[in-house]
Symmetry: C2
Subunit: 464 residues, 2 copies
Amino acid sequence: MKGISITLALLSFGFISSAQNEDSLMIRRIADEILINSRAYDNLRYLTKQIGARLAGSPGMVKAEQWGLKTMHESGADKTWMQECMVPHWIRGGRDEAGITSFQSTTDGVGITKSEKKLDVIALGNSVGTGPKGIVDNVVLVNSFDDLETKKDQVNGKIVFYNYKFNPAYVNTFHAYRDAAQYRSLGPSRAAKYGALAVIIRSLTHNMDNIPHTGATRYDSAYTMIPAVAIGLRDADFLSDKLANSKVSVFIRTNGKFLPDTIGHNIIGELKGTEFPDEFITVGGHLDCWDNCEGAHDDGAGCVQTMEILRAFKAIGYKPKRTIRFILFANEENGLKGGDKYADEAKTKREKHIFALESDAGGFTPRGFGFVVSEEQFKKIAPWRELIAPYGAGDFVKGGGGADIGPLNKTFGTPLAGLNTDTQRYFDIHHARNDVFESVNKRKLELGAINMAALIYLVDKYGL
Amino acid sequence: MKGISITLALLSFGFISSAQNEDSLMIRRIADEILINSRAYDNLRYLTKQIGARLAGSPGMVKAEQWGLKTMHESGADKTWMQECMVPHWIRGGRDEAGITSFQSTTDGVGITKSEKKLDVIALGNSVGTGPKGIVDNVVLVNSFDDLETKKDQVNGKIVFYNYKFNPAYVNTFHAYRDAAQYRSLGPSRAAKYGALAVIIRSLTHNMDNIPHTGATRYDSAYTMIPAVAIGLRDADFLSDKLANSKVSVFIRTNGKFLPDTIGHNIIGELKGTEFPDEFITVGGHLDCWDNCEGAHDDGAGCVQTMEILRAFKAIGYKPKRTIRFILFANEENGLKGGDKYADEAKTKREKHIFALESDAGGFTPRGFGFVVSEEQFKKIAPWRELIAPYGAGDFVKGGGGADIGPLNKTFGTPLAGLNTDTQRYFDIHHARNDVFESVNKRKLELGAINMAALIYLVDKYGL
C-alpha cells in the first residue's frame, strides 16, 4: 500500500458532551504520555531477559518480587509494600524430561523393522513424575472423553494419548481453549480411573511449530495421580499417524513434584485518594509465570502495564479521588494464593473495594473489556465506550474479569473488568517456551496500558 | 492466564431478523470453510518463498503472473485471463548500494581523529542513481520542511538529511505515515530546489531494528532529479547525534534508473452472476511489490485473500447473483497502471460496476472497512456491521477504498471499500526486507478473507 485510506474511527461516534470532552482530553494526555515516554517495554525487557521464568516458590520469583518492588517505587507509588502469602511450590525436578516413541515401520521387501523418534515433551504443571526410570508402554489414542469411554477397557496399564484438537472454527481462540483445556486439567484423572499409567495431551494451540505447551493439571483425589505430558502439534500428528498403522509405544520420563508450600508475595503500590481515600480501585497482573518461558505475554505484559499506568498518572500530575492499588499478584498459574490473600486481608481490614481490573490476556492489541458488573453498572459504563474506542478497547462485553481479582468479587461483590485483546496469537505462545520478550510489540503493549488507564480514570472520577 | 474470560461479542448486539439470521448462517459457513480448509497461507508461502520480489517489469513479476493465473484457475474461477497493460520499469540497478558516513571523533589527549561507519541504505523507488563513483559531501540535517526553509542557504552542494520522525502519538499508524510520507515523496525535489546533491530520509517506521524502508519518490520536473536513500532508525539517530557535535560527510552510491515501459498484466478470475451477470463486483489486491522484500503483507496477503474468497465460494457452492471479478492488480507501488487499465477497459466495454473492494493493509487482524460511498449507501451498509463484527471487521467508517480500485470510482462513481486491519505492525515491515512470509499469521490472514467474503456476499445479495 502506498496511499492513505484510513479515517478516524471517531467519525462513527455521535455527539460528545462537554464533560466527555474534558474526559476525552484527559485520556488523550494519558495516551500521549504513554506512547511517547512509556517505560513498559524496557521494564518488560528486564523482567523477561534478566529474570525470566518465575513460577511461585522459585528463585526466579524471589528476584522478580525484588524487581517489582523497586520498579513499583520508581514508577511513583506513594507507598509500596510486599504482602506475604503462602504459595504452592511445584518443581519440574531433576533430570531432563524425555519422550521417545517406538513404532513398527515396514521397509519394502525386508519386512518389519522398529524405529524410534524423540518427542518434544513437557510435563504438565502440578503433575507427578514418572520416577527416574520413566514409564514405557503402548499408547492408546483417544480423540475425546467420549472416545475414552468407548475405549475404557483398552487403557488399563497403557499410556493414553488425548489428541483432541484446538478447533480452528472458533474466531476467538479463547473459545477453542475453553473447549480443549479440560483435557489438560481433567484428562489425567479420567484416564487413571480406567487404569492408565500416564497421559500425553496434544498441546492447546493452533501453532504448528511443535513447541509443547504446559499449564496446570488438576488431579481428582479419587484416583491415582499419574504422570502427564504435553506434546507439540507436529509430534501429535506424527503419533496419531503412526498409531493408525502400527503398534506404538512411548517412553516418558518426568520429574515433577510438590515441595512444601513456601512464602511468596503480592507486590503492591498505592496512590492515595484525595477525596475518597477509603475507596479502593485495584489494577494488576500476575508476576508468576510457568518455568519453561519468560512469561512475556503471560503475564509480564500485565505487570508492566500496571506499573505504566501508575507512572503515567504521576507523570501528568493526575491525583486520583480514590485510592488506587497497583498489584503484581503472586501466584496465578497454579494456586491463586496471591489473589486470595489480597481479598482476605481487605476483608480483615474492612476495606471498601469499588472496582478491580486485570490484564492477563497478553500484550496484544487491546480490543475491549469484559465486565463482571450489575446491569445498572453496565449501563453506567456503556457510554464510556465512545471515549475508549479510539484507543482500541471499545468492545464492552459482559463476563470476564480476571483470576486474581476474582476473590474480591466473591468477597465483596466488587465489580470487575478484564482487558480483552486480539486473541489470534495468544495460544501460539501460551505456557510455551516461545512466550518471550521478542514476541511482544512495544506499541500494542502500550496501547493496553492506555486503555486500562482510561478505564481506571473514568471509574475513579465517576465511581461505579 | 489460565481461566476463561471472554464472552461472545454477539452479546452486545440486538435483535436479529430472520433475513439476518439466514445471512449470519451463510457467513458462518464461509468462515468455517476458510478457517478449516483455507489455501491462503500455503498460497502465500509459495508466492513469497518460491517467487519473492516482484516489482512491475521485473522477472519476478512475470513468474508471479503465471503463478497467479494458475492459482486463480485452481481456486475455481469460471474463467481466468490476463489483462495486458504497459507498466513502468524501474530497476535498482548494477552494483550494491552503499552509504558510508565519515565524522570527526575526539580521542582524549590525542586530538581529532576521523572515523567511518557504514550505513544500511536503500534507494527510494523511482529514484535516479548517483553514478558509479557515488556522491560524497557534507550533510545538513533538517527536521522538517519548515526547517529546510530556514536552512535553504546552507544546502547548496550538500546532502540533505530529513530526520522527520514517525509520530508515536498517533494510535493509528497510518496517520503517522500520512504525516511523514511527504518527506519520501516530495523531499528530494524540495531539497534539489535549493541545490542539494542528494537526500537521505529517516525511514517511515516505528521499528527500531534499523532496516531501511523504500517506497516511491516523486520528482517535481521543475528541479534536478537527485539521488535519494532511506536509512533505518538507529542509523538515523546515530547520524543526527554525530551532526550535533561535528561535521559529518556521507558517501552514497545508488544505481536506480527507469528502463522503457514494458508489458505487465492484471490477473483476473471471474464467477459469472446467475441473476444479474452484467453487474460487476470487483475484489482484489496488488501482485507487485518492492524489489527488496517478499511482499508478504504488501500485498501478497491481499492477493491470496482474494483467491481464497473465490475458493471458499466455490467450495460451499455459492452461486453469486452478480458477476464477481477477482483481481491481482499489476502495478500499485510505482504507477497504478493495472488499476487504470481495468477501469479503462470497463469503460470501453460499458460494464456496470456496482462495487469494488481491495485488501492492501496487510494480513493483520481485520478491524473494519473504510467505505467510499454515498450517505444513502452508507445507511444501507451500516446494519451489516452486526453480521460482520463477530469476525473482526465491525468498524465501518467513511473514507478508504484502495489505490487499484480508485480508478473505478473515478470513472463510474463505483462505491468502494478497503479492508482495514490492526495497524500497529504494518509500518514495522512496510517496503522493507522484513516483509516476509514469517511475519504473517495464518489465522489473521484467513480472518481478513472471511470478512471480505462476508461483505462481498452481502453486496451481491442486496446490491448497493
